[in-house]
């Protein structure tokens, strides 16, 4: 089984860190083969940025998504650009509704959550929006388990911030679970 995810947004949102955590979760904690790639501009903050994760039971030849199962859009430009590279009928699409105003039509499995607002207002730190996203993702799709993500976060982020990150992950998971209970957003 090969599954493919793309997470897109802009620099400073922790997009690449979220890719890292996914790949450690799947690779180390779930024992799968993984390939996590990324794309970013020369600016430290604000430029377009994306991370992609391929998870497979077998050796991975081509390391990039060919037909993503999941798209996470953490900004309007990211959604506008990458929605055209997924199968709108098949792929799960998670968007940060704090930053995305207009959502193209025809997305069968759309999940909208105000990731940044949750991070900024509920958790007090905008930069953990990526963790909220990961939590939600594990609730929405079965590609990586919540437990594996918790393990990966613990082994990855600086000690001082583990607690905050885990809280964000949990918040995201709960919000995601609510969404799933209610079915896709559209």
């Amino acid at each position: 089984m090969r599954s493919e995810m793309r997470i897109a947004g802009f620099g400073g949102q922790g997009v690449i860190l979220s890719g890292l955590i996914l790949s450690v979760a799947a690779g180390i904690h779930e024992g799968k083969e993984v390939a996590q790639t990324q794309s970013y501009g020369p600016e430290s903050r604000g430029g377009a940025c994306r991370a992609e994760v391929v998870i497979s039971d077998e050796e991975i030849d081509y390391i990039k998504p060919m037909d993503p199962d999941v798209l996470v859009a953490m900004s309007q430009p990211a959604l506008d650009r990458y929605i055209n590279e997924v199968d709108r009928k098949r792929a799960a699409v998670l968007v940060d509704s704090s930053l995305v105003a207009s959502i193209p039509s025809g997305i069968a499995h759309l999940y909208a959550l105000p990731l940044t607002d949750i991070a900024e207002f509920r958790l007090g730190k905008k930069i953990v929006a990526n963790m909220v996203m990961l939590g939600a993702l594990s609730a929405i799709t079965a590609l990586v388990s919540y437990e594996a993500l918790v393990g990966a976060v613990k082994g990855t982020v600086p000690k001082k911030t583990v607690e905050l990150n885990l809280a964000a992950l949990k918040e995201g998971f709960q919000e995601g679970a609510k969404l799933v209970a209610g079915g896709p957003t559209n």
Partner: protein
Amino acid sequence: MEEVLVIQGNEACVRGAIAAGCSFFAGYPITPASEVAELMAEMLPGHGGIYMQMEDEIASFCAVIGAAWGGVKACTGTSGPGFSLMQEGIGYAVCTETPCVIIDVQRGGPSTGMPTSPAQQDIYQAKYGSHGDYEVIAYAPSSAQEAFDLTVKAFNVAEKYRVPVFVMSDEIVGHTREKVRIPENLEVRERQKPATPPDRYLPFRPGPDGLRLDGMPAFNQGYKLLVEGQLHDESGNRAGTVPEVSARLTRRLCDKILKHDGDLLDVEGRLLEDAEVVVVAYGSAVRPSMQAVRQARAAGIRAGLLKMRIVWPFPDGVIAEIATQADRILVPEMNVGKMVREVERAAHGRAEVIAVPKLGGVLHTPAEILAAIEGGYVRASHS
């Protein structure tokens, strides 16, 4: 016990280097190679090694040279612009037979080019970037695992052949996080002291094969070395105006690599036995190529892959053989078509050699390579 990590190719290079005994790194930050420096800075001191960030890439590579003669295994890491700046120093290292490793995490050029995007455009620069006649050794990893494995090998052959060795990584290999299995027992070639005692030692006299030198002495071990960048005789004294001596050194510097022990042929064939169409690839272009070859086989096409793990010295013989067997050879590269020229040369007109270039800083898709295998290749989208 084997250790399993999920790490980027850049980190795999660092771990490979340290596992191979590297204890000195001098570098200068540059995207997409900065993680190499950062991880060296983090890991080396704990292993008794030294990390130095120098004032530029010229100084970085000079420090590597100084460290090598100082008595330790040393390396640097950089990308395009930095690699260009190191070229003068590379010539000096070649001429003085200084063992060292350079990790070039390739990004798109020319100039600042595409600073955050991958490319395979520096592959000729590795061989021809410095002035003068010389040969080097260049590996091209296609995964994080190979980044680890080939960096270890790079250090080993640097010691053996007394030459700068390149690990021609690229932004994709460097930044892709994958599983890396670190074996329990690694083959590491330690630095060898000369067999000849100092008083009879001629530092640049080749051994019995007439090619490779007798060990690698260090400074302040009693050898009273003269390390000279001018063409020199076997004692190290300049001989740039003595045609015979100069010619002999130039020839030996080239021949010690070209007439290697067999260990500098490092290719891997996949599904080649009956292949009519062979994809010749190296570095990250291997990944979509292999996917495409599998897809082609699934579609009943007799396709195969030749992966070059060492690109310099170029495997002329292997290509010549493939050209005799195959009808078509495809060479997908993330550049305008570079190594394809070598393939064309080595094929001697015996097979059709087709460049499958990909520009714009993106990896080929398997579909693009498949189309080329199927014979329907018209220039790939961004090429």
